[in-house]
């Protein structure tokens, strides 16, 4: 009976957000993770500042490139500093994050979309002045 219960063992217990499971390998492994994160984040930051100022990227594409670099850097922070993984011990944390990302996207994209539409459909200010005359 205890054998069966062992088979049904729930696996490792959940991790709190920001917590890392350091089995055996210990502190050196932890420091290595943060160092990798630091190097990647610094590289992406440097690339952002460089591409923003140089003519290396086609002008109108620069904002899109910068946003892509920023999203990549946020991913690096989430993985190496906040230790979010795809493991089953992180499911709850990832689900909450996914919901947060959904709301953030809705707020930002929705606002920009609606305001651009209003701007587009608005009577130009010069014509408003004429109508009031």
């Amino acid at each position: 009976m205890s054998e069966a219960h062992h088979d049904a063992a729930p696996g490792p217990e959940d991790l709190a957000p920001g917590e890392e499971r350091l089995d055996g390998s210990g502190v050196a492994h932890g420091v290595r993770g943060y160092l990798i994160g630091l190097v990647l984040a610094a590289g992406l930051t440097a690339a952002s500042f460089y591409f923003a100022g140089s003519g290396l990227i086609y002008g109108p594409a620069i904002p899109a490139a910068l946003v892509a670099l920023a999203v990549a850097q946020m991913g690096v922070h989430l993985v190496f500093f906040l230790h979010l993984t795809t493991g089953s011990d992180n499911t709850n944390n990832i689900l909450a994050l996914a919901f947060g990302i959904l709301i953030v996207t809705l707020v930002i994209v929705g606002s920009l979309w609606i305001m651009a539409n209003l701007n587009h459909n608005m009577v130009p200010m010069s014509r408003v002045m004429q109508m009031q005359r």
Binding site: A52, G53, V104, S111
Partner: protein, 217 residues
Amino acid sequence: MSLAEPMDPNRVGDLPIEGGEAPGRGLGGPAPVRIVVGYGFWIFILSDMVMFSAFFAAYAVLAGATAGGPTAKQIFDLNNVAIETGCLLASSFACGMASLAAGARNPLWFHVSMAATFVLGAIFLGLELKEFAGLAAQGAGPQRSAFLSAFFTLVGCHGAHITAGLAWLLTMSAQVVAKGFRADIMRRILCFTLFWHALDIIWVAIFTIVYLIGAGR
């Protein structure tokens, strides 16, 4: 139970397990306090990010509404922003070292890392306040245009979070001195590191959307 198929590790619901702690998925009762506290604080951080997203949306909508005042290109000093960014990234790294030191129950390493986190965060805050004071002095305060109102609200809100984080950091160092690495203190350290790393993530969005894209417009 003997010939049961392998159990879904993400199964929701109460099922008694023998020995060990509950894994935090409804199995064998409520999750340990550490997970509940960390998860609750994670929800707070995500709601904080939702609040920031509203400020980002306001800034993005109003970025061109300069009312004849200075534009983003004229007032932003990217060298200053680069130094701020470096300080905050290094501060986040030092904060990670502090959490590792706390995990290893090493007070010296913990306090040195927390001091480095504080100094780098304070340099960031000082540079930001210097920038704000300079803008206000040249007549580009928050009352000048909708663009500047949105700018000061968004970046100032992040700065206010950093200020609160620095106060919290000193509190945590003092609590470790006074009480040691007790379980409740460890939970507070976990929440503080979450908060500090999250502020760095928000800063990535700020330096990209406000400063780099703004200065290139």
